[in-house]
Subunit: 410 residues, 4 copies
């Protein structure tokens, strides 16, 4: 449980930080505003493509991937500070090929994909040449309860046929997005965890329609974008398309849950740190009623509370990462749900405080705060709403007492 950066982490962190400071920071604000302003569908940013080339050359590439052959071979605990650093920037995760949902998709493909799937999809994803989306959430049912899922992935001989409507399919708006991972019911009568299949779908497959891109609290999250996608009798070759075997989707999904949430949370901590830094700078520089804001009312107390909140949240994520590394998803079940509740709420609050200190500027797009605020808010719903994760934490917490109360059979 040693949370100090080891040498490898320190070295990578310094280089990632240096890269961002040199290349990204000086122009990012303007560039993001340009991307946000352009009409859909988005065109890929040549600047980001250029940075990707540089990052790849520098070996700052696929750092998220614990696999040593294809990725950096870091543990979750080692990668966490790198994710935090990237999270201070909107573009950095893509620059280092460490952006959701591609990260989770690559992990899935690496572990469960067959050779053909590796060749066709994993290789270009690892290379950063294409991007991908993940299609699980549905508009018509409460997707926090996965058994509600209505989309179907019916096996028909050596083909699989997809029908249904998905939304909040993150990444589908990206101009480089070429493949979707679709989740649907194959056998409704099987055990609840063996009903669903995960299917690779070329974005241009007949029957696939990106109906629209969804703004999240007003922001279109360019350049990635969340989409609503309909699948009408999308017919695909079974072996090329199904990941693992039909009915294996839940098992596969496990693989991306833990790390994905740790990445999200660490990036949010980076965002919260950025917000706190901006708040401090503003508090020192801006004057009202003949005093710097730092000396007015409760502003100092709020800055202190933000520091305390970030500090606690980071340690909680590092602890969850360490548990995941050492005890696997099951041993980290409560811990991962804990961070999924604690961190987005913390980040929303810290950014809200920073926005308030910025007055009108905080609401505009002149600072990254407004976008950061909605990002944090969205993550209280995405990847499982707070309520579902609190339910997991409580279930783990109450478990032993329920067992004890029920007694053991003689």
């Amino acid at each position: 449980m040693d949370f100090a950066h080891d040498d490898r982490t320190s070295e990578l962190l310094a280089r990632v930080d240096g890269f961002i400071r040199e290349h990204v920071d000086p122009v990012e604000g303007d560039h993001v505003r340009e991307l946000q302003a352009q009409p859909q569908p988005w065109t890929a940013s040549p600047l980001v493509e250029e940075w990707k080339g540089l990052a790849r050359e520098a070996g700052l590439w696929n750092l998220f991937l614990p696999d040593e052959e294809h990725g950096a071979g870091l543990t979750n605990l080692q990668y966490a500070p790198l994710a935090e650093r990237m999270g201070r920037s909107l573009l950095a995760p893509e620059v280092f090929n460490c952006n959701a949902p591609d990260t989770g998709n690559m992990e899935i493909l690496l572990h469960y994909g067959n050779q053909a799937q590796h060749d066709r999809w994993l290789r270009p994803l690892l290379a950063g040449d294409i991007r991908s989306a993940f299609c699980m959430t549905e508009p018509d049912v409460a997707s926090s309860d996965a058994t509600n899922m209505e989309a179907t992935a019916a096996v028909d001989g050596d083909e699989i046929v997809l029908n249904g409507r998905k939304w909040w399919s993150t990444g589908v708006g990206h101009p480089n997005c070429e493949v979707l991972i679709f989740m649907g019911v194959t056998d409704p009568d099987a055990h609840r965890y063996q009903r669903h299949s995960m299917v690779l779908v070329p974005v241009d497959a007949p029957g696939v329609t990106v109906e629209r891109l969804l703004p999240a609290m007003g922001f279109l999250d360019a350049p990635s974008g969340h989409g609503e996608v309909s699948f009408d009798d999308v017919r695909l070759p079974l072996e090329d398309s199904v990941i693992g075997a039909p009915g294996q989707a839940f098992e596969i999904a496990q693989a991306r849950l833990g790390p994905g949430r740790i990445h999200h949370c660490m990036r949010l901590i980076g965002l919260a740190e950025l917000a706190l830094e901006l708040a401090c700078r503003r508090a020192v520089a801006r004057t009202a009623f003949r005093k710097p804001l730092a000396n007015l009312g409760g502003n100092r107390e709020r800055i202190a509370d933000a520091r305390i909140a970030i500090q606690q949240a980071r340690l909680l994520v590092l602890h969850a990462a360490w548990l995941l590394d050492t005890q696997g998803l099951l041993g980290a079940l409560s811990a991962v749900s804990q961070i999924k509740v604690a961190v987005p709420n913390m980040a929303q609050d810290v950014v809200d405080m920073a926005m308030q200190l910025h007055g009108g500027a905080g609401m505009s797009n002149d600072t990254p705060l407004a976008a950061a605020w909605t990002t944090a808010r969205a993550l209280r719903i995405a990847d499982g709403p707070d309520e579902v994760h609190r339910g997991v934490v409580a279930r783990v917490e109450l478990g032993p007492y329920i067992e004890e109360a029920e007694g053991s059979p003689a």
Copy 2:
């Protein structure tokens, strides 16, 4: 302090409600999304123009204006429930010619404008033929402290010359916006409350440039829009342009403060009621884990808390309205600041709860919740940030004790 609706209020409320239900409600959602999607600069909505005609014919017009000749002659307490009803809808305030900042601008012109100003600007504003903006906040200084203002309104013979840069000039994006009210320093050596002038500026006056429209937390607030406006040596005839006399801006500004904040707050209460209604409908209709959301976890408690919070906030605003009606701005000083703190925070929380119950739908523009959430958030900054209003409340609260402690002269 009778908060029951009197006959006049009840009758108007029923008619406003009926009008909105008949005309606006059935199409508003789609229409707002259309308006949000159109590129800037916005074109006026023919639908809204049509509704305005109907509302005017029906006598549901200028209800906000306490003046009996030009408006409905209602007290703040009488108008409050009407504002609440309008606030449930994004478009209704404009439909009834009761939208900010025109309401405040009309009040100012009515009381302080000369005949020429009435003819040129007040008349078409009262008729809903044109719209207006209010230019006070500046990007480079903390505008919550009005003495920071840097823009100038220099008297030069029978002309007045404006220089400076303003932002968050609400309404400036509206295609019908024809006049701005500009506030700037005329005599920096005068008493701090006699330095500033308020000046009417045709939006097409030479030297006036709408530099850009500002999204507030991602939303452009079409069709009104908040703008950044520069004034470069804008030279205008003194008598036609200055409202009241040079140096009188602070006195004039008082007139719009109290009612404006009550309007904002009552509209937010309408918005919070809408959010709570949507939350209840969702809680009843949506199922997860084989139960309606209403029966899951803390959802009922949150709905209860929302009801309690709205109820308290509404009573607080009605009380402030009554104070303003009976004791004037000075007697209502703390009360108006109290609602300005309490209501936007309440509304933000209630809408946040409703969004959470809606999952992904709550983040999208498929419901009015995301926009409502950012509206509530923005009002914690607009018209004076929370911190400044808390300062006013505390000053009034501590006043007698400070006086007592300092003793009275022999």
Copy 3:
């Protein structure tokens, strides 16, 4: 819904206030500390008895009782400000014979008691000669769900036999306490609202044992005291003892619920006002780091928030009182539960803030704050915990939507 004080209320309020300022305020602090320090069982305070005589002479007596013959004949809305004023003091409610649980007990006896019960118990209670307790909550079951009640009141010919154990029987520690109202199951097979009986029990009846007095968060609430009381085959004459008829307890209990909660809440508002006053005085008088506390950190903001919270809470209670007066308990159901949630939480927070401003003094008994804090906390459990009341509010709120969703039969 006119919340202004009418003439009758204003006159009584002025006299109650004058009485407390003249008699109680100057010595109350020391006297309460004396009472708190004396060993149990408490002896009655001669000072309080003396004040009671004066209050009765002055006609400031039984002000809570809406009955015009035996009480002051005030509505809940009229009585509310008087309860608030009394609530600023620990002893004042008893001084004016307006203290719980006697108030509720007198109401019950007045409406449901027979002539013999009036003569034996109501008359001396109205005269302030004796005091009473209410025995409903039980240690072994969740009493927030009244159907859990285990105590029995079995009819045996013309006798009734009580068995069971009660606790948090408020008032049982008072030296003048002579009668208990006991609630128990008479007919477990009847409709759930017709099972229970309410029985008058002389405190010295054979089989009644006050097992102990219970401190609430460390405070014994002298001189009233909460007790744990056992009832072992307590055999009483049926007609003299049962209030109303066997099985009528739930119906009778309704009578005391609404007003009792309004009284509690208004007294807590008085307590919160007292705490805010003490906080302001301290903020002005105490110096640290060369500034009065009022000018340090977030203290002013907290004072503002306290003012806003109290103001909202008071209006909410007045609104509930008005509803209760005009629409009866059913029409005020949600409103009464709303205040029962909102007010104790508000009071706990406001007092906590005041305590913090007082540093060590706030924790001691040198100010009334520590006791006030625990009083507010206790009322989040007493008379129905927050959670149960939130449940009521949510049920009323969701009701129409559930009905609508279920549709109506043709």
Copy 4:
């Protein structure tokens, strides 16, 4: 930054835990209630004295003391889990001779006391034969600002003369308390950190009067007790009495600040864990409305939030302990203030939740919850109020930005 227990810690933790489970747990509840009920001044508990003997024999003694000769030689990080374990129990800290304020007093004496002082006071303190108090806070000034201190310690030849009034002198009520450490002004004209002296005062020295014992939120904290103590011309031999040298008090005080706060916070975490365990047991065992409390309303969410809050707080304290061990007080300055804010607030909230789940039982002394709640609350004031610690955190946070803004001299 390795927060896993090392072998030494694991072994000690298991033995401390075993000791408490065997000896203390089975009888503690009743015994504490007996101690709480006994009239002052308290007599020492023979049971505690017996346990102390057993603990000492077992080598579970002075575990807090980093000195290897006189104590266990543990780092703060190693001791932290032991303090947490002891904190679940009211009596355990004294049983292991690890209770405040003796711990801090022993540290001070060890490092700054001369041989005579070691012989007379340190030796019996280390042996657990006597106890001590620390007299710093004063009733008449805001003691959070130490420069306010009014008590004096005047050097007069080879004597030192003490005058002043102290309160919240923890431990002074204990029957074994034999020595006080008094802090007073020696040279008001010296640098603000060189004005004060720390003086050892036999509790029976002429001029020392324990005026009264102070309940903290109703609890007298038997058997230790907080006292108000007056010092009237207490004349003592300089060399025997002054710790270090006159004027050295601030420097000496530093030594106890960091570790003391870590101990307090870890004990509170133990208390919060105990409260959460009780909450879970209650949630599982208690039934209302035909469901266990765990399945009612928001109870599960609150249990989850409590787990998340405790987890974060513990990690934050461990981090602060590690900083203190590796970087000293200065490097841990913000971290120590962070925990001093975060942990008592967290503990108050968690215990409040547990109390609420316990209904009336939670308010009584039948569970440790009511006492725990007030303990947590008191620690938001004791050892520096929240506001002062937030000020420290903000100062450290803003420091670099202020420096940067002010620029560096050429």
